[in-house]
Amino acid sequence: MSAGSSLKLALAAEGGSPEAARPGRTRARRPWGAMIAGAVFLIIVLGTVLAPLIAPYEPNQQNLRDMLEPPSGTHWFGTDVLGYDIFTRVLHGGGPPLLVGVSAVLVAMIIGVIAGIAAGSRGGWLDNLLGRIADIQMSIPGLILALLVLVLFGTNLQNVIIVIAIESWPLHFRVVRSHVQSVSQHTYVEASRLAGMGWRRTMIRHIAPSALPLLAVTGTVNFAGAVLTEASLSYLGMGVQPPTADWGVMISDGQTQLGAAWWISVFPGSALLALLLSTQVIGDYLADRFSVASD
């Protein structure tokens, strides 16, 4: 399988754009979709960061007189069983997913890029070993691995970040490795070697610049995956523990009340969906754009 198609598959499997490797498509129109997605993403991030300033109530302020209120002027998104204000908690609830997303992706990228460069440029036993490790690790489904780790080592945000990072480094590893390999096939890399450039300078001059756009794509894809895993774990009760506000926990809380008080689940669910969807649109746009440039 060629390098291009394995990249395409790796991205597609992680929920990225399968069109990534499609060469030669030029876009003349303005990327309205991506711009809207960017705005939505920004609003969610700002809302979460500024939650303490703009939220109308305290996130952990019980108000048993106002429990299970439907959406209204005083409680825009209604209240839950304990009388928590849903709007306030939706604002605050984005914190854990965003934090987990950003940190896990950073850690995964650092591991994946270093391993990928090593495997792609050295080849041989190192390549085999790292590839094997990635394969074996991929043979434990991500969510299952996370459950196991969290139950053994305790459920806290730090462990969630670590486990997601460990689970997702192979994505960056594979993409970087196959990129390094495919660029190395170009004779300009050999020419650089013949010109007397050392291995490191060849890497910096010829391979790194074209890898950055790819990392933007894998980073985006990975971020969406990390947010989803965090929410799933919280939903299963293995992530953020109540009473901390978190979308996954809130969705799970509302499930039993679905018939009576749909708003408890639906609003945090919509926020989560908006974050995931906007990330995906941005990721697709990046993949589409950079594949044109890198060909």
Partner: protein, 338 residues
């Protein structure tokens, strides 16, 4: 008027004087899709993967510092813990422990469930049929829908028909399984009361879980199938097929769509892990009594023997599924059979 085709050239005498036997015909039409080497390589790789996964689990138990305590219930006395430690060799050197761990796995001598006191593996195995039913239905449904939508969007002549289904699928792709599950319950069970909310029983119980799982599979399949078809369209052998005089529809199906299946099946293979994860969530949402639900319960109640047995079994299932996918890919792509 139809042009007269000239008769076959008289000069070309039939090359084979001996008549073709039935065996000749079969031999030249059928050919084993995989080589022995291929199967052996993949099975070996699968065994290595299972071994690796099991070792990781072992390492993690060790990393907790007190494996015997992990295996015992929370109220266990020190004596009980010591007994378990002796039984599984946790007081021996780590290398011996590792070998004992592997031996116990092979022979099935795993600690009993802390709650039901049944052997952990039989507790898990009892749940396998339910999970198999759900995942096979879900994946089959998702693949079929994904392939149909992908094919449609790649070949339709109408722009709207090409674009709209893809956008819808994109939204679906971003929707977490548990959220979609809740929405399905909200509408089909709570509001319209068409389907049961949870549990397992008639086919009605299967509908919503299977759809939820299918929704995870279908979008990626559709998008990849569509883009692969469109890449295949410009390949030169497609021109040959057209030049041979095949009808456009035959060319599209036999020479483009079938060839484009390879990457899609490889994708499903790479997603098996995600699908199993999705199954865990789906089972939880719909209280479907499968391995996933058992696993989550075991984890929440700290029933470690069952949790470990579940994890190991899921890994084995994952490896087996990947093996099957590899074989199917080899049938479609002869070049990958080496």
């Amino acid at each position: 008027m139809v042009l007269q085709h000239p008769a076959p050239p008289a000069t070309a005498a039939p090359p084979t004087p001996s008549p073709l036997t039935r065996r000749d015909v079969l031999r030249t039409t059928l050919r084993s899709p995989v080589t022995l080497r291929f199967v052996v390589t993949r099975v070996l790789a699968g065994i290595v993967a299972v071994w690796g996964a099991v070792s990781i689990v072992f390492l993690m138990i060790m990393a907790t510092g007190n494996p015997a305590q992990v295996m015992a219930s929370e109220e266990a006395t020190q004596e009980e813990i010591d007994r378990i430690a002796r039984l599984y060799g946790f007081d021996r050197p780590i290398f011996v422990q590792y070998l004992l761990f592997l031996r116990n796995l092979v022979t099935g001598e795993f600690p009993n469930s802390l709650y039901t006191d049944e052997p952990a593996f039989s507790v898990v195995l009892a749940r396998v049929p339910a999970t198999l039913l759900l995942s096979v239905t879900g994946v089959a449904l998702g693949s079929v829908v994904g392939l149909l939508v992908g094919y449609w969007c790649a070949t339709s002549r109408f722009r709207l028909a090409r674009v709209v289904p893809m956008k819808l699928l994109m939204v679906l792709q971003s929707t977490p399984s548990f959220l979609l599950g809740l929405l399905l319950i909200l509408f089909f069970a709570v509001t319209w009361k068409l389907l049961p909310t949870s549990g397992m029983g008639s086919w009605k119980n299967l509908v919503m879980p299977a759809v939820t799982l299918a929704a995870y599979v279908a979008p990626a399949v559709a998008r990849l199938f569509r883009s692969t078809i469109r890449e295949m369209e410009v390949e030169e052998h497609v021109a040959t097929a057209t030049a041979k005089g095949l009808r456009p529809r035959t060319v599209r199906r036999r020479h483009i769509a079938v060839n484009a299946l390879g990457p899609v099946i490889a994708l499903i293979g790479m997603q098996v892990g995600g699908i199993l994860g999705g199954a865990v969530i789906t089972e939880q949402v719909f209280a479907w009594p499968g391995v996933g639900q058992l696993l989550v319960n075991a984890v929440n109640t700290r029933d470690f023997p069952v949790a470990l047995a579940g994890v190991i079994l899921i890994c084995v299932g994952f490896v087996v599924a990947s093996l099957v996918v590899d074989l199917v890919v080899a049938i479609i792509n002869p070049r990958s059979r080496a």
